[in-house]
Amino acid sequence: MNRRAHSLMVMVVLLSVVVGACSKKTPPVARPMPPPMPTATAPPPPPPPPNPVAEPVPVPPMPVEDTIGSKSLDDLNRDSPLKPLFFALDSSEVDADGQVTLQANAAVLKQFPTWQITIEGHCDERGTAEYNLALGERRALAARTYLVSLGIPADKVKTVSYGKEFPFDAGHDEAAWTKNRRAHFVITAK
């Protein structure tokens, strides 16, 4: 798009030069040479755009940092910038989607290096209560290991398993189970 706009502009400039040249009604023989010149003089119009474009870039991060930084822990956790990671049945493997989620969470955590977080491991009701406690722990640890591999300090990340004791969706269908097999992030200190 930019390239096309640029070449259009060049064409317009060229045409106006040609039109201007024609209106002078001077001997045509010596005139054909200047056209290269207009291409050199044409660039001045493009430069202005870069300036306005460059200005807005640093602006967005500032307000974001302010709103997150000023929120209470409860408000932060109610609408958390750290997104949950979901697992397959009986599994604690961080899949491709999970890795994307954890990379985004890691980016947030790097922005706020003072935060302490706890990763809660949760399971759906299709496992037994007892085994699920260990499975939830393994899920939380898997999420923690991946975060640490992305450069998050290990001492900032605690884990705890709640097994299937605190489901996020009380339903008894696949839609509910999918939501309940998760590593859930809680910010415990700022």
């Binding site: 009986d90 299709r126 037994t128 209560a129 085994y131 406690l133 260990a134 398993s161 004791e165």
Partner: protein, 456 residues
């Protein structure tokens, strides 16, 4: 009399003395004084091949006040239910002998009427008000022999008349059937019935607290008040303490509540995350699951926190220990070969072997003697069912059949019954069932109730 039944009797006396609720005495009459020969001689028998038929009419209230009258009726109703529970007697429905007059003494027992009814035995008793509470006297009569087969007199508080019935039922089972009854045992379990919110979380989460109840579900009482999540309560062998998993510190850790003393102990002293504790048969040690070394492994620790021993060591989940009755082996759950299955290992870490071959199996619970069996929850469809594995033969039989999801079996101390949790009634509730799958009873109704354990 066998050694074990004498031991039972001694522990019965110790329990009575300790709780100071009841004092049992031999009756003044000589009938039951030379107890052992008498009870053998007059032991009730039924028709060949069938249990003795027993009638339990209302006890006679010797005092006219309401409390004594109520106690007399309650004791006979509870005694009937307690005796019925073990299926060692065939109980004749109480409404079929309402017209037979209640006897106040042996001379007045209308043996012909009871014989007509087809009773082999009848329990006759009296309740009398005393300055301190009540005196309860009970006699089991052999209808054909027209003699007292067993008799006891109790004095104590009138606050909980059910205790007299439970004590009598256990003694009748012991003396007449050489059976250790469970009438005085208790259940412990987890409940969210109080609908209190867990503190310090933005999600709405109900606290889960430890409760206890009589074996029949009566007298349900809350034991913990820490307003977090508590899981997997397990009785000490003496029935005076419960060890459980508590999230009081934010992560799962072991706590012991001494429920009559009102004190607590922390055997693991806050080291690591620890869950699923189980007292050893002698009460001196606790087996549990912990991730203190990186992932879920099995450990054993002394009750006082000394002598920590690690039993398993591999990158898979090892969880949910249960002691063999002798305390020399531990069965547990491991997913080291794929899905969770039941394994057995000696307490010194040797002799590991897999014993379940289900699609998914968890919560092994080792039966007390004389049954060498392990009950567990197996995935049978969308949910779980209770199965029992006979260790000797390796054969497995199923106890529940897909009605709701059924999990977390826990044996009664005589190995004849199990408590478990089931969603068959909607939410998670505690049920009891006999080891042959019969005699299913719902114990809880209020809130969600999970992970039961049966006292010794």
């Amino acid at each position: 009399m066998t050694k074990s039944s004498i031991a039972t009797k001694l522990s019965v006396m110790a329990l009575l003395a300790a709780s100071a609720v009841l004092t049992a005495q031999q009756p003044a009459t000589p009938a039951a004084a030379p107890q052992q020969p008498t009870s053998v001689e007059l032991r009730l028998t039924g028709e060949p091949g069938s249990p003795p038929r027993l009638a339990v009419p209302d006890l006679l209230a010797l005092s006219p006040d309401r409390e004594t009258q109520d106690a007399a009726r309650t004791i006979s109703e509870v005694l009937f239910a307690d005796l019925d529970f073990e299926r060692e007697f065939s109980l004749i429905p109480r409404d079929t002998y309402k017209s037979i007059p209640v006897a106040g003494s042996i001379d007045a027992v209308p043996f012909d009427r009871w014989r007509e009814l087809g009773a082999d035995g009848v329990v006759i008793g009296t309740v009398q008000k005393t300055p301190a509470g009540i005196r309860v006297e009970m006699r089991l009569y052999n209808v054909r022999a027209r003699q007292s087969a067993y008799g006891r007199e109790y004095t104590g508080s009138a606050a909980n008349p059910r205790v007299y019935a439970h004590t009598m039922a256990d003694e009748l089972h012991d003396s007449q059937r050489q059976l250790r009854g469970v009438a005085r045992t208790k259940l412990t379990f987890i409940s969210d019935r109080n609908r209190e919110a867990v503190v310090a979380t933005v999600e709405k989460r109900d606290v889960k607290e430890v409760f206890i109840a009589d074996y029949d579900g009566v007298n349900q009482r809350r034991i913990t008040i820490n307003r977090t999540m508590n899981l997997y309560p397990n009785w000490s062998p003496d029935g005076r303490s419960i060890v459980y998993t508590s999230y009081r510190s934010g992560v799962p850790d072991l706590l012991i509540s001494n429920i009559y003393a009102g004190t607590m102990e922390s055997p693991t002293k806050g080291v690591g995350q620890n869950w699923l504790p189980v007292f050893s048969p002698d009460g001196s040690r606790i087996a549990f699951t912990s991730s203190r070394d990186g992932n879920s492994e099995l450990y054993v620790i002394n009750r006082d926190g000394s002598n920590l021993v690690r039993l398993t060591n591999n990158p898979s989940i090892d969880s949910t220990p249960t002691w063999s009755p002798t305390g020399t082996q531990i069965a547990f759950t491991s997913d080291r070969r794929g899905q969770p299955q039941i394994f057995v290992v000696n307490t010194d870490g040797t002799g590991l072997r897999q014993i379940s071959f289900e699609s998914y199996a968890d919560r092994p619970t080792w039966s007390p003697a004389p049954y060498n069996e392990i009950a567990f929850a197996a995935r049978t469809g969308p949910g779980f069912d209770i199965k029992i594995l006979a260790i000797g033969s390796g054969e497995t039989r199923q106890i529940t059949f897909g009605e709701g999801s059924n999990e977390s079996p826990a044996w009664a101390p005589n190995g004849r019954h199990m408590a478990f949790m089931s969603t068959r009634a909607g939410r998670s509730q505690i049920f009891t069932v006999d080891r042959d799958g019969r005699n299913m009873r719902q114990i809880t109704k209020d809130g969600n109730n999970t992970t039961p354990n049966w006292s010794q």
